[in-house]
Symmetry: C2
Subunit: 413 residues, 2 copies
């Protein structure tokens, strides 16, 4: 198969209209005055590079996540889609529409327009491939990485298939929710005829810091979350735990990572009636300060062996932080990048359908997320208050090298 | 019935623990460093005053809205609830938790904690009463304002009862979604045993400006929305169209307003395939600039009578802005304060469940929202692309005068 021409990309990015004027320059769309354009949270994140943005990028405040199923069995359709997405993503990451809003009156606008005039707001777009993409349809089976194993059934799972898995995933993160939503909407539109959105999830507040420059946020349990998370500044840990390297059986994944997503519903009404002392026992930390129960400062290392005078562990052996700690997980870590969510009232119960949409990046889920979650699912004191209702795992390929590159190009070679 | 004591309020706000140390002072909760605390979007909005905040307040970026049904038929229970809400709201509006997170280890934390360390982010909390609150249960029937009439069936309605109406409503707006969500969660918690949340709606981007200092945002149709909205700086219009005055049959509502909410789902996939010229015809404005089709600047007044050379109206007589214009509505206006929403994928159709959660404040829905929407529902070209799926109308009483006051105090007199 020949290399796609430049026209292929532009035609893809711009849809049927395929105007020659496009490609990232030449738009003259008036932008709203931005007197605070220098404020934190605004500006662009570089799109091209060794890794896809949205993994090591300091976690933005808002998430729009979507999984897609490919409905065409035509390999060229899929290739066109992935090239369209790449071209569109490069535009949006630069704070530009994916194409002109005003072209011909006799054509639909190329960009849907709702983000017009908004700052890029640190937008990152991260694309991944689910295990099902490597089935018989596209001839990708020989290129399926061993690390992209299906997530096995785990203790306590209450998964809903309609909102789990998917052939493709898109994680859009930004400090403006309209900017993030604009991505998944336009990706869905570019996919028409080739793929359909399978499920989506909005997140309204980050629940992890991924940079030493960020304060630790709180999740909907009211506790600080992600105190001991991998920070992107720790290049050694990123190399050891997050980025795919020489260990992979699939060289096309080098520089990539594996995303695991879990929609974790919290029984917050029950949690809210629990005593402070029990909440702190369940988590293993002090609620207000975030300090481990063995320390006084948020960043004091938890002392899991420390005993009280009566001989009991100060941090319960089944406390969430004890079971999730690298100390009890063969020193394995994952990079968490989750968001709080609420999807309104569960009409069946009258309870809030809210919780944490967990996203974690890692080098190999088989030795990182899966064993950690197996143990948590069995023993975590927190299980009384949470339920995993959705699961996904995706191979996130390395970053795109420049305007000629597209997601999964190596799969089509 | 005697006047509630101060203890009544504090006890209410603080739940069973009812600590004497509370009441807005004395919390020593560490707050995250806020180097940009002076940036726009942060800080507090005064809570007490002639009107409830959240109506004339410049529209914040995020919404958490909830409607509640009162499950107790006991008038004192309802009064206690409304006093608890008032005390809690005053705390949260000041950027404080509703009570201590760390009190006794043997009690649940009073505040759920997720907003701890976050700035008030211009939080406003606005409480209203639905028509059903004035039924036989609490003896309020003689105090039901005539303007709080049930919204009649309107052309094109596709209302879902489970997400419509309700005895009470709470609109929480802030520039941080966690701060807004924190309000409805804690209100639900304070209501336990007396009222249950009936439905809720998150909004992720304001779709109206309500101040001359704000730029006009875009809705999910990609068009600027609210260009001709009432601006709070126009005191004459606020008095004529928004605030309840001497015209009311219920003096307790003076200084209040009436909120109408409509969840307007947009068929965005269809809209996105519509030609630019047709989109602009439907709305009556230019997509990028927001100018009416008879002008060149966003704020040029639409000329509804202007004809093209072929004799046709330049702005279609059934264009959205033509039908919604005060010029064709007996010069009536409403204050719009809506938000974009998306609630994921409609599993039945695979389409995005997204649109605009419309909120409008007015002096009398019978002569403002209802006739305008009746006409829009019949003739608006936009009807091909939208559907009203939820409806609510609420009497929003005036502002609270100070710490002794509570929502609906006059109803219990």
């Amino acid at each position: 198969m020949s290399t796609p021409s430049r026209r292929f990309f532009l035609g893809g990015a711009l849809g049927a209209a395929g105007l020659a004027a496009a490609g990232g320059a030449g738009f003259s769309i008036a932008r709203a005055d931005e007197p605070e354009a220098q404020a934190a949270g605004r500006g662009t994140v570089p799109f091209y590079g060794a890794h896809q943005a949205g993994i090591a990028t300091p976690a933005q405040d808002r998430l729009a996540f979507a999984a897609f199923d490919v409905t065409s069995a035509n390999r060229d359709d899929l290739r066109t889609l992935l090239a369209r997405w790449a071209a569109a993503a490069s535009q949006m990451a630069a704070g530009l529409p994916i194409g002109a809003v005003e072209t011909s009156p006799d054509a639909p606008p190329i960009d849907t327009g709702e983000a017009d005039g908004l700052d890029a707001s640190k937008l990152t777009i991260t694309v991944g491939f689910g295990p099902s993409l490597f089935d018989h349809r596209f001839g990708f089976a020989p290129k399926r990485p061993a690390a992209l194993a299906d997530i096995p059934a785990l203790p306590g799972d209450a998964l809903i298939e309609d909102i789990s898995n998917g052939d493709l995933c898109v994680q859009a993160c930004a400090n403006d929710p309209v900017v993030a939503f604009h991505v998944i909407r336009n990706f869905a539109r570019l996919a028409r005829g080739t793929a359909v959105m399978r499920w989506s999830q909005l997140g309204f507040g980050r629940t992890s810091s991924t940079s030493t420059a960020q304060a630790t946020p709180r999740n909907l349990l009211g506790f600080k979350d992600g105190t001991r998370n991998i920070k992107a500044e720790s290049e050694d840990e990123m190399r050891e735990f997050v980025w795919v390297g020489a260990e992979t059986d699939q060289p096309w994944m080098k520089g990539g990572s594996y995303a695991v997503t879990r929609r974790i519903r919290m029984r917050i009404e029950s949690w809210d009636t629990d005593y402070l002392s029990d909440q702190e026992k369940v988590i293993g930390r002090s609620k207000t300060s975030g300090a481990p129960l063995t320390g006084s400062g948020e960043f004091d290392p938890p002392e899991l062996d420390k005993r009280a005078k009566d001989g009991s562990h100060v941090i319960d052996v089944n406390a969430h932080i004890a079971l999730a700690s690298p100390l009890t997980n063969a020193n394995k870590k994952i990079l968490r990048r989750g968001y709080s969510f609420t999807d309104g009232i569960d009409q069946a119960t009258g309870l809030l359908d809210a919780g944490l949409f967990f996203i974690a990046y890692q080098q190999d889920p088989r030795t990182q997320f899966v064993p950690i979650q197996r143990k948590l699912g069995q023993h975590d004191l927190l299980n009384e208050y949470i339920q995993h209702t959705s699961s996904g795992v995706y191979a996130v390929p390395p970053g795109l090298t420049g305007p000629g590159d597209y997601y999964g190009k190596a799969l089509f070679a």
